[in-house]
Symmetry: C2
Subunit: 87 residues, 2 copies
């Protein structure tokens, strides 16, 4: 399965959420992560993140594409990498 995860959480919780997502997926840009993942690992990832966010103020969007062949990505401009973003 391929997933895209976008989050909008309060600034103080951003590092925690980034740290967890980085274990399971690849950082794309800003608050967006993506990658191939199994159902089990996605569950594990969500089980780690959900207790860290405030459901009354934060939001987390998970887009699931069962077959990775069904999603095509086109990048315009520069592709940034996680390390340069958070250094």
């Amino acid at each position: 399965m391929y997933v895209l995860v976008a989050y909008d959480v309060e600034e103080k919780r951003v590092p925690k959420v980034n740290k967890i997502l980085k274990k399971y997926l690849t950082w794309t840009q800003n608050s967006l992560f993506e990658g191939e993942i199994t159902e089990g690992l996605l569950k594990q990832c969500m089980a780690e993140i959900l207790p860290k966010i405030d459901p009354a103020h934060d939001s987390l969007y998970v887009y699931r594409i069962a077959n990775p062949k069904h999603i095509k990505k086109v990048v315009y401009g520069v592709e940034k990498d996680f390390e340069s973003m958070f250094l």
Copy 2:
């Protein structure tokens, strides 16, 4: 076709990029838009946006899913709307 568009552009260009994307897609959160769109309208949207961004510094990610049934979205926490974000 279903598309997700995520951008990372310099702050001064954000309002322009948002304004164009809002004409074609639905704002989801931060710098992420999504929605069903035809090939022709997506081309038109890109033709409007690309001259507004600086390809040496900005980036625009377009994820295309030919059949909207192939993508499933799950939202945790709050769903925000465009108007409240930019007021």
